[in-house]
């Protein structure tokens, strides 16, 4: 075996030009596999991270009707004050409850439709708008805070400013119009402009009083440790309530983001395989040539008593060595290029387009071990299979004919 590896190694560098070209091809291919994957995964990870930290959480408990009819008519059947007792000790890394209703916001000059969230500011401080840069003013202080927090974009549209009063209109459970004035206490900026236009935040109790639904909320939101594994979290949330409540994971709450995760994982595999196939033509070609120019030599080895399986092994090892070096170089190169952008790649030139996809305009690279392992194993396994055919051919030569072959 050792002699075979030695032979393969030396053979590899007999035609160093060809080996170097093939090596460059493998290196570029592997680099592209890993770097491109890091880009797409980075984008998706961030989209999901931002997307679920803002609104859905990892799982939510709601009234079964709320999904189709997200109004104050579809409250959770459990009083807010009782929910805490049910959720504490449920194994959630954090949780909160919200009252979320459609509303119209009006300044002296403009009106817009928004979603009004009554929140518990202390509970939400850790996760709502994770990068909740309150660019101006202050964050909400308590559940009974009577100020509102609006997005920077909405503030601009309403042509008003922090400290001014706005009017919020929504409906009560009896479909009377409930309206009251609020003072804007702070402005937040979000990664996606749409969120700045959509969400208006106030204290939970303030909103409950305004809508006449004391101690009532529309959803309970929980977070686990990992957004990719939310089954345990949603199960224990389900246990905390009875069947009158519907529990949904974020993948169900936001179908787009949920699908995105699967689509991108699938895309990674397709991309890696496509790049490999493009490489494989060159790889097989290189091996075919290497065998072809060594026909006499192989014939001689066979005549001297080397077993065909050793010839086969020798060629396969040669191919695997080539791939291994290419993989090593490609991995290092990909790692270096990911390191070259510690703060992500700024693509704000297409910010609006990224927003349409739900992504932010700074593309963070996410080099995941599992993607690197995937790329490397695809190359090694398929590379092994691709080199079998030329190697098999070489091991089947008739020694006499092979020795007499003239080129």
């Amino acid at each position: 075996m050792r002699i075979l590896i030695k032979l393969a190694w030396r053979n590899l560098f007999r035609n160093h030009r060809r080996t170097l070209i093939m090596l460059s091809a493998i290196t570029v291919g592997v680099w592209a596999m890993i770097f491109m994957t890091a880009m797409t995964q980075g984008m998706v990870t961030q989209m999901i991270h931002d997307g679920i930290s803002v609104i859905p959480g990892h799982a939510q408990a709601r009234n079964p009707q709320y999904g189709d009819d997200p109004t104050v008519n579809n409250l959770l059947p459990v009083p807010d004050s009782e929910i805490a007792g049910r959720l504490e000790g449920g194994g959630f890394s954090s949780w909160t409850t919200r009252l979320s209703v459609p509303a119209v916001i009006s300044s002296e000059r403009e009106s817009r439709g928004v979603t009004l969230l009554g929140i518990d500011p202390e509970r939400e401080a850790d996760f709502t708008f994770v990068e909740i840069d309150t660019i101006d003013g202050r964050y909400l202080e308590s559940v009974s805070d009577e100020g509102v927090l609006v997005g920077a974009k909405l503030l601009e549209t309403l042509k008003t400013k922090v400290g001014n009063r706005i009017v919020l209109m929504s409906q009560t459970p009896d479909n009377d119009i409930a309206d009251r004035g609020f003072r804007i206490v702070g402005v937040f900026s979000a990664k996606v402009e749409l969120w700045e236009e959509t969400w208006v935040l106030t204290g939970k109790e303030t909103l409950q009083t305004m809508l006449g639904v004391p101690d009532q909320v529309t959803q309970a939101i929980v977070f686990g440790d990992n957004y990719r594994q939310v089954d345990a979290v949603s199960d224990s949330l389900r246990k905390a309530f009875d069947d009158t409540v519907s529990v949904q994971r974020w993948t169900e709450l936001d179908r787009y983001l949920g699908t995105m995760l699967e689509v991108m994982d699938g895309f990674t595999l397709v991309w890696v395989v496509v790049i490999f196939l493009a490489l494989s033509f060159g790889l097989v070609n290189t091996l075919v040539m290497a065998v072809f120019e060594r026909v006499r030599e192989i014939g001689l080895m066979l005549a001297l008593g080397m077993r065909p399986s050793s010839i086969l092994g020798q060629i396969v090892i040669e191919s695997m060595l080539l791939l291994a070096i290419g993989l090593a170089l490609g991995n290092v190169l990909a790692w270096l290029s990911v390191k070259a952008f510690p703060d992500g790649i700024d693509i704000s030139i297409v910010a609006k387009g990224m927003e349409m996809m739900g992504a932010s305009s700074i593309l963070m690279l996410d080099l995941r071990l599992q993607d690197v392992v995937l790329a490397n194993s695809v190359v090694l396994i398929l590379g092994f299979l691709a080199s079998l055919s030329p190697a098999w051919r070489a091991s089947r030569y008739d020694p006499i004919e092979a020795i007499h072959k003239v080129d």
Partner: protein, 405 residues
């Protein structure tokens, strides 16, 4: 030339397996390129058409600053006469005036904040696809009539014939209210529209919101997306100076940029693919030159110029490239044509498609450009990759070459 061509052709088939593997690499990437590029550009066309046809139109006439602020007060005065004037100047273009406000819409049971549009009942069907998508009832004609989206109707728990109350602010900031009768419900398939807009006759809008004859924008649809730039210039020339004309790239910057971002990332992937083919070609070219060192030495000793030998090697690659183009375009065309007929679906595409106003099943279309753009790039890059082995021949010394092992 004829003899060089024949030589090149024969040389290729001295190593048929190598030649086929090299052509195979070209064909593989060509087929992928043809299919992907066809699919991609069909999708862009659909995205643009569906998004613009639905509502915003190819162009809009607006008051200065309206595009950024969208304020109720940034109005186009005497909008209906202006629209009809444009209509008589440009009879082949669809033109419709509109006004916009935000209101709280209440039915008996529910209230939602929505955008309400005042539209010209006679001309809106040309400018937007919504009137044609009224699945229940009819489009508005005049008076206190309103149509709403199917999701909004469900949320408000109303159907055709029910009343809808709207509360909002008029142009001067005063209180505006109206009680309207729902005459139709539309289903555009675009969740944003179905959930959050209502349309009423423009005259009614102007009354309710104290518009005094003004509106907010005039939507204009050119006969085709390619004609937009031309019409933008011509219409812009006749507009009063205090108005602005924006095309769709300004109206929906997200659309344009989403396409740009997608082109950017996919072209990166294509470039990698082409580079890998180039390595393959380079390898083959170099091998075929090296193994013929003696032969080339003899030819040079016989008086053939190294330049001609270089051309021979380039011609060999060119021949492979041509086969690559033909096979690639043919197979790629077949693949694209197949999906063009049956439709192309990817798992998870439904959710993605809705986001970009696309149907769940895509039918890629073929054009000469999408069929040959990719393969021709592959061809040119292959030639480029062969330059190195071809120029190496210039350094060949006939005597040494003939002695080479």
């Amino acid at each position: 030339m004829e003899i060089t061509l024949r030589l090149a052709w024969r040389n290729l088939w001295r190593q048929p397996r190598r030649t086929w593997l090299t052509i195979g690499a070209m064909v593989f990437s060509n087929v992928l390129l043809v299919f992907m590029i066809s699919l991609q550009f069909s999708v862009y066309d659909l995205m643009i058409n569906n998004s613009l046809r639905a509502f915003s139109g190819h162009m809009q006439v607006q008051a200065p600053g309206y595009i950024d602020d969208g304020s109720m007060r940034q109005t186009v005065a005497e909008i209906v006469p202006l629209a009809s004037e444009l209509r008589s100047d440009f009879p082949d273009v669809d033109i419709a005036a509109r006004a916009t406000g935000f209101v709280l819409a209440s039915s008996e049971q529910r209230s939602y904040g929505i955008a309400v549009y005042g539209v010209e009942p006679a001309f809106e069907p040309g400018a937007s696809s919504i009137p044609g998508l009224v699945t229940d009832g009819r489009f508005v004609e005049s008076g206190d009539e309103v149509i709403i989206g199917v999701v909004l109707a469900r949320n408000l728990r109303v159907s055709v014939g029910d009343e809808l109350t709207m509360l909002g602010s008029g142009r001067d900031g005063s209180f505006a209210a109206a009680v309207l009768t729902i005459v139709g419900i539309f289903d555009s398939g675009i969740p944003d529209l179905d959930r959050s807009i209502a349309e009423i006759p423009l005259a009614t809008f102007q009354d309710v919101f104290y518009m005094r004859g003004s509106g907010h924008h005039i939507a204009i649809n050119a006969p085709s997306i390619d004609a937009v730039a031309d019409y933008q210039q011509r219409i812009g020339a006749v507009l009063p100076d205090d108005l602005e004309l924006h095309d769709w790239t300004a109206l929906q910057p997200g659309l344009k940029q989403a396409i740009t971002a997608d082109i950017g990332s996919s072209f990166f992937a294509y470039a990698i693919l082409v580079i890998l083919v180039a390595f393959s070609v380079l390898n083959t070219g170099l091998m075929s030159v090296l193994e013929r060192t003696r032969e080339f030495g003899i030819l040079m000793a016989l008086g053939i110029a190294p330049g001609r030998l270089g051309r021979l090697v380039l011609l060999e690659t060119a021949l492979m490239g041509v086969i690559g183009i033909l096979l690639g375009a043919f197979l790629g065309g077949l693949l694209t044509g197949y999906f063009g007929a049956t439709g192309f679906v990817m798992p998870g595409m439904e959710e993605m498609a809705v986001r970009f106003n696309l149907p769940a099943r895509l039918y890629p279309g073929i054009s000469v450009a999408t069929l040959f753009a990719g393969p021709i790039v592959v061809f040119l890059v292959s030639i480029l990759a062969t330059l190195y082995p071809a120029f190496r021949l210039n350094r060949l010394q006939p005597v040494e070459a003939m002695r080479a092992a």
